[in-house]
């Protein structure tokens, strides 16, 4: 058998998608958390899993990474993953970075990584390149307790990408990264996606994900309500108007919008690359689509008094 360390991640075309079908889960009898989740996570794409607090996001992630058993429904990566050898093999091909993770403070960075590598069956020779990749090459022999929060988060990232995984799952990864760490993080997961890896993350930093992720899956009431690009999902939702601040990575021309005058929108530019207004979800989606058509990416989106998940689950 080829070791995960030596086998490169397969190309997007050759790799299977991670597929969930009718997954149910509950911690206590008659208190379902997941009520029939069906979703597909394609290779070579970064998917953001959005959902309100208590929507079952973390539970779903724990099922995806094999912490919880799939008691009802199916999880497939090519073949079905249930128990035994199939589950072990899946876990070997998977990377996970939980939220608020702190690797053993008394260990040196490389030793900690070596510990996890042994558990996964990854060669020790692969560790230095990974540490270099996340910008910790010079600190590999330093104890983790001396690291800044950002450095610890980079080490967590290194742990997650050990052994060239086929699937990588991140729970709220942006928490704790410094500015350059966020750049390294998104650059690394984009490289992984380009290599055909399935990348799944949860986040509440909406503007940040829009420029970085390919797809969004919205989890609400224990089921995936919507899947697709953020703007396509936004355009399907009818919500109330919210005060929003939007920023793009270049100059945005408001006049390019083919919208009838609507005083309620109070839409006006704040700067050459940012604007504010009172918009509903559909209008935000259209705005993002228009910007995309002009070659612009959204870099920041703030909604007054709510999260994007709230807006997406609101049906007024």
């Amino acid at each position: 058998m080829t070791s995960p360390a030596s086998s490169p991640a397969a190309s997007p075309a050759a790799s299977p998608a991670l597929e969930l079908s009718d997954i149910h889960f509950e911690y206590r009898k008659n208190s379902p958390i997941l009520r029939g989740v069906t979703a597909s996570f394609p290779p070579g794409q970064i998917t953001a899993l959005l959902g309100n607090n208590g929507s079952g996001k973390t539970t779903l992630l724990k099922l995806l990474v094999g912490i919880h058993p799939v008691a009802s429904g199916t999880l497939r990566l090519g073949s079905e993953i249930k128990t035994g050898e199939a589950l072990e093999s899946y876990k070997r091909s998977m990377g996970f970075m939980p939220e608020s993770l702190q690797l053993y403070p008394e260990m040196k960075a490389r030793d900690a990584l070596s510990f996890f590598a042994k558990l996964k069956g990854v060669n020790d020779t692969d560790l230095d390149p990974i540490l270099e990749r996340v910008g910790l090459g010079a600190y590999k022999n330093q104890r983790i307790r001396t690291f800044s929060k950002g450095m610890k988060q980079r080490l967590n990232l290194a742990q997650a990408i050990l052994g060239r995984p086929q699937v990588v799952v991140f729970d709220e990864p942006s928490n704790g990264f410094d500015a350059s760490g966020v750049t390294i993080f998104y650059q690394t997961i984009r490289e992984l996606a380009d290599e055909g890896v399935i990348v799944i993350l949860t986040t509440h930093l909406l503007g940040e994900i829009q420029g970085q992720v390919d797809r969004v899956a919205l989890l609400s009431d224990g089921v995936i309500q919507r899947e697709g690009s953020l703007e396509s999902i936004l355009r399907q939702v009818s919500s109330s108007r919210k005060r929003v601040w939007i920023q793009f990575d270049g100059t945005f021309d408001l006049s390019s919008l083919d919208w009838p005058p609507c005083p309620e929108r109070h839409l006006h530019p704040l700067d050459s690359d940012s604007l504010t207004g009172s918009l509903d979800a559909r209008e935000i989606g259209e705005l993002i689509s228009t910007a995309k058509a002009s070659g612009l990416q959204l870099t920041n989106l703030r909604i007054e008094g709510s999260e994007l998940a709230d807006l997406l689950t609101e049906e007024s």
């Binding site: 889960f25 911690y27 912490i67 009802s72 608020s100 993770l101 053993y104 008394e106 996890f116 558990l119």
Partner: protein
């Protein structure tokens, strides 16, 4: 069972305790207190002018009864708790190993490091203990039985660590168990004997003693090291003081909590809807 994963976790646990203060403090306590008892042992001289080793042996057994459970609890109570606090427990479960592998690896690591502390401490004091008349075999037997008692409390500490997410609750539970096993259960047995004026069946006393691993250690140690004095020390009949039964009981006291801790906790199981 994934033995590579189990040994990797055991090694990591042992190494992390090699780097912190638990090992030197535990070894130093074993050494200094045993040394102190050895020094006192020189003062126990019989009418024939020879050193009477019985008092030294009894003191050493009581020292181990107090010290070993406490040190073992300190070593193991954070086993699962600390991993949960760091967020690494979920991470380990996402690796190709099972909940049982993690717990077994930790238990082996703690038992290994406990053995090392005992060997260092008692080994350093053994020369002085030998000088007051303890045979090398007796020192070895006491060290072995102390290790068994330490392993029992490693299992108990690990079990308590799996039962709560709250550090205060785990620490409080360890203290309560330590007080109960070291003092209260013995006092309870004595109180019952006094109240009933000794009118209770022998088998009932034996059953009560089986509920206390520290009491079992004492019986095992005294029947091993001072076999001729055991009946007089305990005030009990010979048939109640079985060395084999007490050692077997200690083995069961190791296996039972360890087995219970290996049962996957409720919050990791989930149900089929």
């Amino acid at each position: 069972m994934h033995w590579v994963a189990i040994s990797t976790i055991a090694k990591k646990e042992a190494q992390s305790h090699l780097q912190n203060l638990w090992l030197p403090i535990a070894a130093l306590l074993f050494f200094l207190l045993s040394l102190g008892l050895a020094k006192i042992g020189f003062s126990f001289v019989g009418s024939d002018g020879e050193i009477d080793t019985r008092a030294t042996v009894l003191s050493l057994i009581h020292l181990q009864m107090y010290l070993v459970p406490l040190l073992a609890f300190i070593l193991s109570y954070g086993g699962v708790l600390a991993e949960r606090e760091l967020g690494t427990f979920d991470l380990l479960l996402a690796y190709p190993l099972s909940y049982r592998d993690i717990l077994l690896g930790k238990w082996l690591g703690y038992s290994g490091i406990f053995a090392l502390a005992l060997l260092l401490g008692m080994g350093s004091a053994s020369f002085f203990l030998h000088q007051v008349g303890l045979s090398w075999l007796a020192i070895g037997q006491l060290t072995g039985l102390s290790l068994l008692l330490g392993i029992v409390f490693n299992s108990l500490g690990l079990l308590l660590s799996t039962l709560s997410r709250d550090r205060t609750t785990v620490i409080a539970s360890c203290i309560v168990l330590w007080i109960a096993f070291v003092f209260l259960l013995d006092l309870g047995t004595i109180a019952l004997l006094v109240l009933t004026e000794g009118d209770i069946p022998d088998r009932m006393i034996q059953s009560m003693m089986l509920f206390n691993p520290v009491g079992m250690f004492r019986i095992a140690a005294i029947t091993t090291l001072l076999p001729g004095d055991a009946e007089q020390i305990f005030g009990l009949g010979k048939d109640l003081l079985s060395r084999n039964l007490s050692v077997l009981s200690l083995v069961l006291w190791t296996a039972a909590p360890l087995s219970l801790s290996l049962i996957k906790p409720f919050h990791l199981r989930g149900h089929q809807s």
